[in-house]
């Protein structure tokens, strides 16, 4: 039997014990929820926009192979070089080759969750290329040697005091301050020099428009622009699901993403890249590359229901609104993506045997699906993957069936036997009423329940008895 990972619960319990962390997350996520709500005063407008967003992405997914080809053709026509990678290793390898060919020793990075999937920084370091994150949040966690705890605000688990100490320790000549403006200025100073000197720039992609062959990047800080305008080479990385049909469709998608993510109408910069520096132009990268990564996405695509998860535009609204995420933060989820979208993607990308335990990190309250700007039925997908983890349908998910448990099977068989048969139900509940209240609170399940709750009391009479007595018809 393969060994299962149960790290999620340990990490979550540890996070719950960290009061500072919980306060930080609660405060910031509440702020984000309120700001989002303020952006959508008109529920009809919100629903129309969500439907539009969903249909844009669904159209793109329905035509995905053709659109990728069209995108590639237009990118090449625009002078952008296109590369394809099936796996994380291949993706890393391709980028390393590009860098080596250009003799590049350093890389300045804009934000890219896909590069987190690839453990890209680590890979480059191993190959003696320095990769420096330039998004402030990413820069902070890179200095701290940590991973992101949120897909939009990666360093949100740290407070300004911790960041102050980190900067004092890691940045030459930097004294201690916990003033966010001063900390931001310090990062600006360091990173400006890096932008100027780095051999290559790197970025993710928010949307790729097939009709014009354009890569669309959103950023507030301007680091996305710095990374893609200043160095003489720009390498962009995206998952296959980022392509959409038309540049024009970027409008509603940006609106959905920004308003859902941080409650702003739009990010400060929307950077549309449709080619490298042309003859006569004075700046811009001389080479632009796009790496298109699969890493399990075609497998997700292969299942019509699971495919819905590929609509994701990485806005983070689902985690901002998740009552579990808000309490434990992002690190407990172990793999690249935290929160509800992580519960869907991590088990599919890493395999259920490795990352399946997060499937239970949800009370199925449905808030994520309610706010998701592209209407991904996150809860239904979580339940579907729970099913795959115990009773796999043919080859749908890596590690399907690896969470089968004989014990659970027995429990659910017993449950079914009792509840599917009216006679057994009457009989079983009669016994529960008789002896249920005698069960000691230390029994498994009851023990967990009574940690913060009193023991529930079985009623002495069944509602069916009471009803008969009071003249309610049974037919």
């Amino acid at each position: 039997m393969p060994e299962l990972s149960h790290d999620f619960e340990h990490a979550a319990v540890k996070a719950l014990g960290n009061q500072q962390l919980r306060t930080n997350f609660r405060r910031v996520m509440t702020g984000l929820m309120n700001k989002r709500a303020a952006q959508f005063p008109d529920p009809d407008e919100l629903q129309a926009l969500r439907s539009r967003g969903k249909s844009i992405k669904d159209r793109a997914l329905a035509k995905l192979p053709d659109l990728l080809v069209q995108l590639e053709q237009n990118l090449i026509a625009n002078g952008i070089q296109v590369h394809w990678a099936e796996s994380v290793d291949e993706g890393n390898r391709i980028i390393l080759d590009i860098l080596r060919k250009a003799n590049a020793k350093s890389l300045i990075k804009g934000k890219s969750m896909v590069s987190e999937e690839m453990h890209f920084n680590h890979f480059l370091e191993e190959n003696n290329i320095r990769a420096l994150e330039s998004d402030l949040g990413e820069y902070i966690i890179q200095l701290a040697g940590e991973g992101p705890s949120h897909i939009v605000m990666p360093a949100i688990h740290k407070n300004k005091g911790e960041i102050g100490k980190l900067f004092q320790e890691k940045i030459d000549g930097q004294g201690y301050t916990d003033d966010p403006d001063e900390l931001t200025a310090a990062a600006r100073r360091v990173l400006r020099q890096m932008f100027a000197n780095a051999d290559a720039g790197f970025s993710g992609v928010n949307f790729a428009a097939a009709d014009t062959g354009s890569l669309v990047l959103m950023s507030n800080e301007g680091n996305g622009r710095m990374s893609t305008h200043l160095p003489s080479m720009h390498i962009a990385l995206m998952g296959i699901e980022k392509v959409i049909e038309r540049l024009e469709d970027v409008g509603p998608l940006i609106s959905l993403a920004c308003r859902s993510a941080t409650g702003q109408p739009i990010t400060t910069y929307v950077n549309v890249i449709s080619g490298p520096r042309k003859a006569g132009e004075k700046d811009g990268p001389k080479e632009v590359h796009l790496v298109i990564l699969d890493n399990g996405r075609t497998r997700i695509y292969d299942d019509p229901q699971l495919r819905e998860g590929l609509r994701c535009i990485r806005c983070a609204a689902c985690m901002n609104h998740c009552p579990v995420y808000t309490r434990i933060g992002g690190h407990a989820y172990q793999y690249t993506y935290p929160g509800p979208i992580g519960e869907i993607l991590n088990p599919q990308m890493q395999g259920i045997e490795k990352a399946g335990d997060v499937l239970h990190a949800s009370s199925l309250c449905g808030r994520c699906a309610e706010v998701c700007p592209v209407k991904i039925p996150l809860v239904d997908l979580i339940v579907r993957l729970r099913r795959e983890s115990i009773r796999p349908s043919a080859d749908a998910v890596k590690g399907g069936g690896s969470r089968k448990s004989g014990m659970e099977n027995v429990i659910w068989f017993g449950w079914k036997t009792m509840y599917a048969n009216p006679l057994f139900y009457r009989w079983g509940t009669w016994w529960l009423r008789k002896i249920g209240n005698l069960m000691p609170a230390g029994l498994p399940l009851l023990k967990q329940w009574t940690s913060v709750r009193s023991k529930p009391q079985f009623a002495s009479r069944s509602i069916y008895d009471l009803a008969r007595e009071r003249g309610i018809r049974d037919e």
Partner: protein, 216 residues
């Protein structure tokens, strides 16, 4: 072509087909009660973009005031543009802060730009009322970095070039025909909330965005 490409495309083509849905009905933002320019002002103001109204003939004087106000010692400008020529003419009669022309490849100007320039001035293609955004299309004459690297970005906007929405701008500007290598929406100065969710301005891009609005 690589194996990865054909393998990926083949897997996608073999996957179950789903019908291509129609785009769900939705119409881009249209100004109704609030005038487009008013909305633009409101949204730009909310993200700390400053707007200064002026007449076409007073552009250079207004620019002088802005530079004095912001205590800018120098200005990165594009000499071969209408704005550039206006500035050159005005500065010829009465010199102002030092002018730095972006007239050679970035490599030759990089260190100066990164370290010593206070302000940069660019034109715009117009603005979008819906989101309060400037449309900026860098070009050979007016390169990408002018609106990015200097701590103060001064953008000249003609009030007549207001679009309701991005969709409208895409159509009217022919953005989806053959777009230049880099096109931008800019909605305020650079900002971040990465430290405890607290808003700070001027992370990597400009700390200040000043819009000179030509009203005639």
């Amino acid at each position: 072509m690589s194996n990865a490409r054909s393998a990926i495309l083949e897997r996608l083509r073999k996957a179950p087909k789903k019908p291509v849905p129609d785009l769900a009905p939705w119409s881009p933002y249209k100004t109704t009660t609030e005038q487009p320019l008013d909305r633009f002002r409101r949204l730009m103001g909310a993200v700390k973009g400053e707007i200064i109204d002026t007449k076409r003939a007073d552009l250079a004087e207004t620019l002088r005031k802005v530079l004095a106000d912001k205590q800018a010692k120098n200005l990165l400008y594009a000499p071969n543009t209408e704005i550039g020529r206006t500035i050159d003419a005005a500065w010829a009669t009465e010199p102002g802060p030092q002018l730095v022309a972006y007239d050679k490849p970035m490599e030759e100007l990089k260190s100066l730009m990164i370290n010593d320039i206070d302000a940069g001035i660019t034109s715009t293609m117009g603005a979008i009322a819906d989101t309060g955004s400037l449309i900026v299309w860098p070009s050979a004459e007016e390169p990408r970095l002018m609106s990015l690297v200097p701590p103060i970005h001064i953008a000249v906007l003609e009030a007549s070039k207001m679009y309701d929405s991005f969709s409208e701008a895409v159509g009217k500007l022919g953005w989806n025909k053959k777009p230049p290598g880099n096109t931008l929406l800019i909605s305020g100065p650079s900002k971040t909330a990465d430290i405890e969710g607290i808003l700070c301005f001027g992370v990597h891009g400009p700390k200040q965005l000043v819009i000179i609005l030509i009203t005639d």
